[in-house]
Symmetry: C2
């Protein structure tokens, strides 16, 4: 009998009625002859509410206490879901990250899973129980409660599926699959029936909210088939799979945008070798990810460096560069929160030339100025003025003819 | 440097502002040269809200999942309070029942503390931290989350104080001490500056909400001085102490009432020896406390038995006696939720005769019918019609001249 892991996001368990509906779906899966492990997020906007409460008390609450606070959200939803399954006459048991042994290392927030202890989960599954696990949370080797970062219940689910050798991991969400672009921005965006791990990883990294990028990374590493589908309907969703079989000759699979970007510019840096590396090392030490970087020769033998970080990391990053300013002798720091990153993703671009040129030209025709560029084998990203985001996404989506023909 | 344990109830941490005020009080205690361990309840009516949510999903949620759910309430408040203390520039760390090792046995709810591991608390105190502990929750030897029963944060605090050999345990609450009766019912009720463990235990058992009875039991056993005082003011509260020193010649220390009582009557029981014991054993096996018992000879060689339980235990108790009905051959079962228990408590009654008679006569003069009676060395309780509760309390309070002379 195979194991299926099902993950339900916060909107899927936003109130008692929805929790009951999720319970019915889980129970049906067990009835179909599977062992079922379920990973749940916090109900609705619980995490936002708890974060707000923390900020009423402290502008900068300690990470440890924030993890202690936020982890309660998932603990509430696993308990309620276990009650709902029990109410249907089935056996269920909820387990926290501490109880399972979802062991993380490093940090209290944005912690990384190092190891998942499978013994408690397997012993409960073997008793015929539906096992309901708290997403988003882990435990350090010192028995401290940690959290994996926003949206990381997907990561919990995929890592649990990998650990258990599950047949597949089903990600239930409030959309019915992965689209070529956000349908709210691009009305004729098309649902993809399949997408590769690599493409899905880039799309998640680059602003598609449907899946957390680390979950895709884990799914790829351990070859866990992911199935993204709606918790409110019965439609087949999108399968995320290995890149061996290409169903169609697709160049670009999707276009994403991400407004949670901020640009920091350091002006008048002495043109000394290694100075940029020193700065970026300090930022990396604080667990902050630098995305795009651009360096220009400045005036008088100096250089200017601009780089982007996630908007939430702007304040701590500024703190770090301010502290380096006098020591490294650069002139000034400027910031810009009004940028967005738009990206085109597709493994097809590996075997096609001129993709970048087509994207730049589509943006140019639309009158959108490109401020920074970064590329990889399967994606091209451009930083642009945030105000042009939606227009830019539509232009690129059209350029690569990703939409439904009917629309 | 001595340790002081401070406990703050739900009303003391009901919102962010109140949490900040509690943080200031804690910090002041540390500044005065003490090591401080703090026990906190869930904010405001969180526990009620969570219970309501559970009952939206299931009329009878499993105890294990209810403990999983309710324990989040305290986890939220310890995290917020630790943030508030940190914000004041002091070091704090919050710990769950699992992290401390507040080991309980027996049941998921109404669990009893068997052992508290002091190593984590002491090591954090020795680092100069204020240690903030979740009340109401524990952990079983199987790493399962348990809860100690409503109001049991007092028990956590007292047990922690006993374990740490604390100088004293301060119980901060929304009233400024222990009164001779509920001041909302008896306007001239008097605040007691001292009360003995035994009297306080009975008062808590018999309806005074100010302290949880098990906390008093533990305080007596380990000789922990308890100080009950207001979290909103600076007044001296009530000291709960050993009975060695009697400050004044007091016969009765207080009058309490408890409306959460239900009476179950089993009619037409065969008059066989041991039949009552069998019934009460079954009820006790379900962890339900039977309070008053009265047995009358019935018709035709049968007997009638009536007994009282807490109102919340009425449904499970009925389930048990219904299941025994055909087997034991009694005629019928009746229930009555409209009863209340009023009690007079005082160690002084050990050395005075006629106390019971004075109480019965005061009730009789007031026209209140006594349905059942139970007594101990230091208390007398009467079951009466719930509608007469307030009048009865005032009559008994007056009879023993407990009020302030000024009123």
């Amino acid at each position: 009998m195979g194991i299926i892991v099902q993950k339900f996001g916060g909107t899927s368990v936003a109130d008692a009625t929805k929790v009951k509906n999720v319970a019915k779906r889980i129970v049906r899966t067990q009835e179909e002859g599977h062992q079922v492990a379920v990973v749940v997020s916090a109900m609705g906007d619980t995490t936002d509410q708890l974060t707000f409460l923390a900020h009423e008390i402290s502008a900068n609450p300690p990470d440890r206490e924030l993890a202690m606070l936020l982890s309660t959200g998932e603990q509430v939803s696993i308990a309620l879901l276990a009650m709902a399954v029990t109410e249907l006459g089935y056996q269920a048991i909820s387990l926290t990250g501490t109880q399972v042994g979802i062991v993380t290392g490093g940090f209290y927030s944005e912690a990384r899973i190092q190891h998942i202890n499978d013994s408690r989960i397997l012993s409960e599954l073997d008793k015929g129980k539906i096992v309901i696990l708290a997403g988003f949370q882990g435990v350090s080797i010192d028995n401290e409660i940690t959290t994996l970062g926003r949206g990381a219940s997907d990561t919990t689910a995929t890592a649990v599926a990998a650990t258990l050798g599950a047949d597949r991991c089903e990600i239930y969400t409030d959309v019915d699959g992965v689209y070529t672009a956000d349908p709210r921005v691009v009305p004729n965006a098309r649902k993809l029936s399949r997408i590769t791990y690599d493409e899905m990883f880039e799309m998640a990294q680059l602003g598609a909210k449907v899946l957390h990028s680390r979950s895709v990374e884990i799914a790829k590493k351990f070859d866990v088939p992911l199935h993204v589908r709606s918790s409110f309907g019965e439609d087949e969703g999108t399968m995320v799979v290995k890149d061996s079989v290409m169903i169609e000759e697709v160049v670009i699979s999707g276009v994403t945008s991400d407004k949670d970007q901020a640009k920091i510019s350091l002006l008048g840096l002495p043109d000394t070798p290694g100075i940029a590396a020193q700065i970026f090392q300090k930022v990396a030490d604080a667990n902050i990810n630098i995305d795009m970087i651009i360096q220009n020769a400045g005036q008088d033998e100096t250089a200017d460096i601009s780089f982007t970080v996630a908007e939430k990391d702007l304040a701590p990053t500024l703190g770090i560069v301010e502290s380096l300013k006098s020591n490294m002798g650069f002139r000034s720091i400027s910031t810009d929160k009004t940028i967005a990153k738009i990206s085109a993703i597709g493994i097809g671009m590996q075997s096609h030339v001129g993709i970048a040129a087509r994207m730049f030209s589509a943006l140019g025709t639309e009158g959108v100025n490109i401020q920074m560029i970064s590329t990889s084998e399967i994606k091209i990203s451009c930083a642009i003025d945030e105000r042009h985001t939606e227009r830019a996404v539509r232009a690129v989506h059209d350029e690569f003819e990703l939409g439904n023909v009917a629309s």
